[in-house]
Symmetry: C2
Subunit: 545 residues, 2 copies
């Protein structure tokens, strides 16, 4: 049996677009004499559709699309993910289902049993868990269909009390087919492969795995669809971050030579590619082409600009330099050098004049008070205002350039440098920003070395340095990582050897700045614990503050 | 048996504060010779603790607090909500539990069976569902403990496959005790009481129900704790929106005279009281006292100011008038009249000068281009900047004054009038804003009648009216309500008689402005479907757009 794997970049709610892509793949699979073509989880709607699933109209559109796709399935079968209504009187309204389409119609529907409801996942919000286990008999083979998380309840620490493959294996299947919507983070590849191989080893069955690829706002899907034979040999593996299509033969797979495992890309390269895809898809799927950003001469905006140019092309990105009286000479030079290296159009708009006008306007109220955070923020907000004015006037989307370390401790101005339609580096710690800048410069100087080596500064008051008010970034980032990604509390951190005073100060900063992060743009997610939908905190609370 | 009900305003993560309040109530209950005192769901931590639950340190603090509370329980028993660790190797790490404390120690722990995971609820994100049913035997009575949602799987449309009271009733209890964290919306009282009475009718048992009161950022808890005897007579009912304490005697309850049911407050009065509590608690729990807001002369900022004054006192609110060349004379007069009526300090800061400076600064780039949305937004953002400068300088929190109709269709400027720490009216449609303004003026003119009767305008260009670009608010609000609260799709709306073109335009506006709502402040939730944590939509999508 020849099985085609279709790794597709879907667009949430864009039924027409998704259907065209699915139908194209079905036709291609037919042409290449495949017996069956496999698509990803919730392929018809895109993933995650979130609360669109609560609209009857949306579910109807899924069914209409699915039925049109079924009609194309003559001479070939397909497995396609789509939501279905729960016909029972108990439980949630929907199932997260895999449709088996053949001979122009829906032959059977198989529901997801294990519904992830952690981090960025909310599936139990919408779906009832499956409790009926059936196998597909097709051309003399028995197919065991599972959906993403269904294969993940394996190993020592079990999140669920049931395991659908333990039920399906009783029906003596010949192959496991898993349709997935498993997002990227820099740990995902390793964990995902480990889980898939463990399933093959446990059930002694070949596995065909089809994942989503592409960005859905902050969520980045890397693809990596694959096939493993029953002996645990990787027979096919798709590229990351791009659509792909390929065919495996179940019989040949068992004796096929080992595909040499691809060299594991280093973390920073993966994150780099993920971010470029994230920017590209954000613009493409929203129907925008042009980006604008504020270029300060610092490393965060420099890196954001490089990634934007890679995602959108140098002609589609406009850089704006917004110097103030506190900007150092090298800042403007470094920013200009970078714009020239990338051949990106740029303008210099000094903010002196608007600043003076606010100074004058506020004088009656601020009389006799010292320059402080209020005036610092005025500068950042003037910049934000000018960038948004250009964005509104010319139809650009403003890219936010803040990094994860800043977002964590609230080192940024709401309605100022925290503005933007999309945060590119909001899930990238400062030390990783440096690392990626060096990665980009590995063959030639793209980002001026001075930008990478000079001490970071917000330049909102004379001779300001980030280190005036924050610990050094290597310490800061390690504490943040332990607290945010590893959920270690203050006592654990102090036991690890971090200075108690620094630990308490940092955790307090993280928790008291929840209100700022609530209003930040969506951040491209590359870590196992990003700010945004995967990390949900109360704003009004008193914990570690 | 005498049972005390303690309706308390908890503070999330503020273990010290919560513990003090719980201990005070235990001492009071002892003094009044109660046998048992009942507290709300997750009383120890506050509700909802959200992802704090993922921190071991946080759970440890819950246990420490609980153990200290247990020590106080000699001569009296208590039922207190707190999370517990799941000792098993399968399932989620935690249970949502009720502790039965007596003789200075934890006598038994009872877990929640039905875990709400819809709208604002995420309980399956953290908790494993209970599957063991035990009763408490105490002083010759059998107590059936359930936690909030556990009583809600009753009636025709069942969200869950199990019903914990169906199990507990087999153990022949004498009374049902339900500890809850059931938030307010203007439909909640009716639904909640209906469900509670249905349980009494079904199981023929008296019911003691203890709920949270107080605001947790956007979530407003109204309290309304109560006791019903086995015949379905309401014997005790606590006030809404305030802490309360009271005792019922299980024996006397059965023969006690009927408590005359409180006159059901009208919706707009409930919402009014909820918003006042929401503002008050936001400030109180964050440790702030003073608010600032921009007063335009329009109805939204007028109503927000009135509510803020009721919540914080007139000396703690500062109004800023920010007129531009497009502000009409009556706007300034109406705003001043209101500030004077309320005896609130106010300043007038014309934005002309900063506007001219941006005009000049941007001239080289905007040369030859017409005045459009970019210039409109510059005005709104100058106002936002000035308000934030005052907020930063004087330690005020900026109140956002946008209403739900505007938030829905994106009629507002990001980083301008959408600024604020808290949105007061973000869940109140424009027609409800009018209604509440008339409610406030029911005895005397607080809000100038001219503010209420004049046509709404953003005043960002000459002679602008909201109705230039939006349908009349009565039509708009009805379509929004049907789409947002009722999840009706375009076809259903058109079948209801709304104009097809208007429907498509409005739904498109709602869906394409998801990116704006993503960055708005938290909105006090008063409806069954508010923007924010209870309504989760993709930003990059193409559905009804």
């Amino acid at each position: 049996m020849k099985i085609a794997l279709a790794q597709i970049n879907y667009h949430i709610g864009n039924f027409e677009n998704n259907e065209i892509k699915i139908l194209d793949a079905i036709r291609k699979a037919k042409k290449e004499k495949a017996d069956l073509v496999v698509f990803a989880e919730l392929a018809v709607s895109g993933y995650p559709p979130r609360d669109f699933l609560e609209f009857d109209d949306f579910i109807n559109k899924c069914y209409f699309s699915l039925n049109r796709i079924a009609k194309e399935c003559d001479g070939i079968a397909a497995i396609v993910g789509s939501p279905t209504r729960n016909p029972g009187t108990k439980g949630k309204d929907l199932f997260n289902s895999a449709f088996f389409l053949s001979e122009g119609e829906v032959k059977s529907v198989h529901h997801k049993t294990l519904l992830p409801n952690y981090d960025i996942f909310d599936e139990y919000r919408y779906f009832e868990a499956n409790s009926v286990f059936e196998i597909i008999e097709f051309k003399g083979k028995k197919l065991a269909i599972t959906i993403c998380e269904d294969l993940w309840n394996i190993g020592d620490d079990l999140l669920y009390r049931t395991n659908p493959m333990d039920e399906l294996i009783k029906l003596e299947p010949d192959v496991m087919i898993n349709i997935a919507a498993s997002p990227f983070d820099y740990t995902a590849e390793t964990r995902r492969k480990k889980i898939l191989f463990e399933n093959v080893e446990k059930y002694k069955l070949p596995l065909v795995y089809v994942n989503h690829v592409g960005a859905q706002t902050e969520l980045l899907f890397d693809g990596g669809s694959l096939a493993i034979n029953s002996k645990g040999t990787l027979c096919k593996e798709f590229n990351y971050f791009e659509e792909d299509f390929g065919i495996v033969d179940l019989g040949e797979m068992e004796t096929s030579p080992v595909v040499p495992e691809r060299q594991k890309p280093e973390k920073i390269a993966l994150v780099h590619d993920a971010l470029v895809m994230g920017i590209n898809n954000y613009f493409g799927k929203l129907g925008f082409t042009k980006a604008i950003l504020g270029l300060s001469g610092g490393i965060d905006s420099a890196l954001t600009l490089v990634l934007a140019v890679k995602a959108l092309g140098n002609n589609n990105v406009r850089a704006i330099l917004l110097p103030s009286q506190f900007s150092s000479g090298h800042s403007i030079k470094d920013a200009e050098d970078l714009a020239k290296n990338l051949d990106v159009p740029y303008d210099i708009i000094p903010i002196e004049e608007p600043y003076q006008s606010f100074d004058k306007t506020l004088k009656p109220l601020f009389e006799g008070m010292e320059f402080n955070i209020a005036e610092e923020n005025i500068q950042a907000r003037i910049r934000g205002l000018i960038l948004m004015a250009l964005s509104n006037k010319f139809g650009y989307i403003l890219l936010n350039t803040s990094n994860k370390s800043e977002a964590a401790v609230g080192y940024g101005t709401l309605y100022g440098d925290m503005n933007g339609g999309l945060s590119v580096l909001g899930d990238v710690y400062k030390m990783e920003v440096f690392e990626m800048a060096r990665y980009i410069n590995r063959e030639q100087e793209v980002i001026p070395w001075n930008t990478i080596t000079k001490p970071p500064s917000a330049e909102l008051r004379p001779d300001q340095k980030d280190s005036d008010s924050l610990p050094d970034y290597d310490i800061l980032d390690e504490i943040l990582f332990q607290y945010i990604e590893k959920r270690r509390g203050p006592n654990e951190l102090i036991q690890m050897g971090f200075d108690a005073k620094v630990v308490h100060r940092i955790l307090k900063l993280v928790n008291t700045n929840e209100y700022k992060r609530y209003q930040t743009p969506p951040m491209l997610r590359v870590s196992p614990k990003a700010f945004g939908m995967g990390r949900r905190m109360p704003i009004v609370a008193r914990y570690l503050t």
